[in-house]
């Protein structure tokens, strides 16, 4: 295969594509110094920003401007100048803390419960209607209820993360546990292995790849949801940062935040993919 003989080809294409896209962006965002429309609607001007409307400067920043902002954020990620001006590192930290808290609670609850459902057909039939109804609910729909009952906005965000992470883990764990090969369980039975030891030494490793598939889906959803949740509850976090920069009309900051959200999401996914590979087995 050519791609194998030229391992540098794919990265080269990636870099070329990036250069091309940045070039297009640069051209599209070029400040238009020539035309000043005299008949500009003042209301429209107010809406899209005076500078942009005046034509002196586009509201859309150039790649260079975004690069500069990104550099500024990366070199000083943890500054704190009051509630509405915190470093990107601090905001990401808040978001990650919420995601991890909600996610870990979900894992701690969904894995044992999934075990129960997977091992007992009775528990499966009893809980299935609840799961089927609760699973398709958008996690954000829980937000008002959470705010009303919990009252604390940070905790409500954690709850929303919990509720969106719990279903994929629960369903996958139950499925993984239920489909452990009969043969392996029979081996454990003929060796008089206790039910608890069977759960930990046979069922858990056998179902681990499926459980981790669920955990990987969940962390992805949780990271998607936290941005929206923080836009709603406000205060801190990367979602709030994006919303706040929208109010400041700092498109460059928004683009920087979008990039960072993507990179962090990728890092989380990579971590779970690594974990999944560590517990996978070939038959």
């Amino acid at each position: 295969m050519t791609t194998l003989r030229k391992p540098w080809l794919a990265p080269l294409l990636s870099v070329l594509l990036l250069a091309f896209l940045l070039g297009v962006w640069q051209l599209a965002a070029q400040p238009e110094t020539t035309v000043v429309d005299p008949g500009l609607d003042p209301e429209y001007a107010a809406l899209i920003g005076a500078a942009a409307a005046g034509g002196g400067q586009s509201a859309m920043p150039t790649p260079g401007e975004v690069g500069g902002k990104l550099w500024a954020h990366l070199t000083d990620p943890f500054y704190d100048r009051g509630t509405n001006d915190k470093g990107l590192g601090i905001q990401i930290g808040y978001s990650l803390a919420r995601v991890l808290a909600g996610y870990l609670i979900a894992v701690a609850l969904a894995v044992p419960l999934g075990f129960l459902i997977g091992m007992s057909p009775l528990a499966y039939r009893a809980l299935d209607p609840y799961i089927q109804v609760l699973k398709p609910i958008s996690p954000l729909a829980w937000m008002p209820l959470a705010l009303y009952t919990i009252k604390d906005s940070g905790t409500s965000a954690v709850f929303v993360i919990f509720i969106c992470s719990v279903w994929p883990i629960l369903v996958n764990t139950a499925f993984g546990v239920a489909s452990v090969r009969r043969d392996w369980l029979n081996v454990a039975r003929t060796l008089e292995v206790s039910p608890l030891r069977t759960a930990f030494t046979v069922i858990l490793p056998a179902a681990a790849p499926t459980i981790l598939t669920g955990m990987r889906i969940s962390i992805g959803i949780a990271w998607l949801v936290i941005v929206a949740a923080e836009m709603l509850v406000g205060g801190t976090g990367i979602g709030y940062f994006v919303w706040n920069e929208w109010n400041n009309l700092s498109i460059a900051n928004i683009i920087v935040a979008i990039l960072v959200i993507g990179v962090v999401g990728m890092a989380l996914d990579t971590m779970l993919a690594r974990l999944a590979r560590a517990v996978s087995y070939r038959e």
């Binding site: 043969d183 029979n186 081996v187 003929t190 030494t201």
Partner: protein
């Protein structure tokens, strides 16, 4: 009383009109190697599952060493048809899994040493740390045998252990099994489809008629002297007498076997007993 005693054993699966088999009566002596032969679907695996305790009989009793068999226990080692190794464990860990259950008081060192010793017995000293997917079919089956053997069961139960292997590998593992069993006086109950395999290994061969309502039709004694050698055993004129008898049963008589009444004991035959033992060359 015999070491293993089976009386009036029957199995009927729920929702089935007829029992798979019924009125099964037979005994196995300590140290005996017994094979069971019969057409596919006659209930051999079901019998073995009842002996291992993984399945329950609908009627009848199984008594081993003076105690009724109820549920699976460590005094019976099972080698599964599909090897049933845990794919996330190495060969050694698979064997250790059983050994640790058998002797929970043993230290990690003792467990490991005993497991390695058993794997060496089946010729796998070089593959201790390989995962099942890195092993050939024959090696996997050897690990399965080592796992069952390592717990030093009173009886070894094998469900067509060599069914999926090529003839050459099959022969090698048959030899290994024969050696281990001879050295340890192990009692063995083994299912097979292969007539030659059963003659090579067994002291007695149980012949089952076709299901449903399968019966134990006959018990064939294999009076060939031990140790037996795969390459020379067929020079013995009695070998073909036994072989013809078995094939004749499978081809002609297994289907038409009339169901006798409950207390029936299967006929015991000893084909070739009229031929004098050949003199050693």
């Amino acid at each position: 009383m015999a070491f293993l005693h089976i009386e009036a054993l029957a199995k009927r699966f729920p929702q089935a009109d007829a029992p798979v088999f019924e009125h099964l009566n037979f005994s196995i002596e300590r140290g005996e190697f017994v094979c069971i032969l019969g057409h596919s679907g006659c209930g051999k695996t079901t019998v073995l599952n009842i002996l291992s305790g993984l399945d329950e009989a609908s009627a009848g009793t199984v008594v081993m060493d003076g105690r009724e068999v109820r549920g699976p226990a460590l005094d019976r080692g099972v080698v599964f048809q599909s090897h049933a190794l845990m794919p996330w464990l190495s060969a050694l860990k698979n064997v250790e899994f059983g050994v640790r259950s058998r002797w929970p008081e043993w230290s990690r060192r003792e467990v490991e040493a005993h497991s390695i010793k058993t794997l060496e017995m089946v010729g796998l000293a070089h593959a201790l740390h390989k995962k099942p997917h890195e092993l050939s079919g024959g090696m996997k089956q050897r690990v399965g045998i080592a796992r069952a053997f390592a717990i030093q069961p009173k009886m070894l139960l094998l469900d067509e252990p060599f069914g999926a292997l090529d003839a050459l590998t099959r022969g090698t593992i048959q030899d290994e099994l024969m050696q281990i069993v001879a050295a340890t006086q192990q009692t063995v109950f083994m299912i097979t489809h292969d007539v030659d395999e059963s003659i090579l290994l067994a002291d007695r061969i149980l012949l089952m008629s076709n299901g449903p309502r399968a019966q134990l039709a006959e018990i064939v004694e294999v009076a060939l002297p031990r140790p037996r050698d795969r390459h020379t055993i067929h020079h013995d004129p009695r070998y073909y007498r036994i072989r013809n008898h078995l094939v004749d049963f499978l081809v002609n008589r297994s289907r038409a076997f009339a169901a006798p009444e409950a207390g029936h004991a299967p006929a015991v035959v000893n084909p070739g007993s009229d031929i004098p033992e050949p003199q050693a060359a």
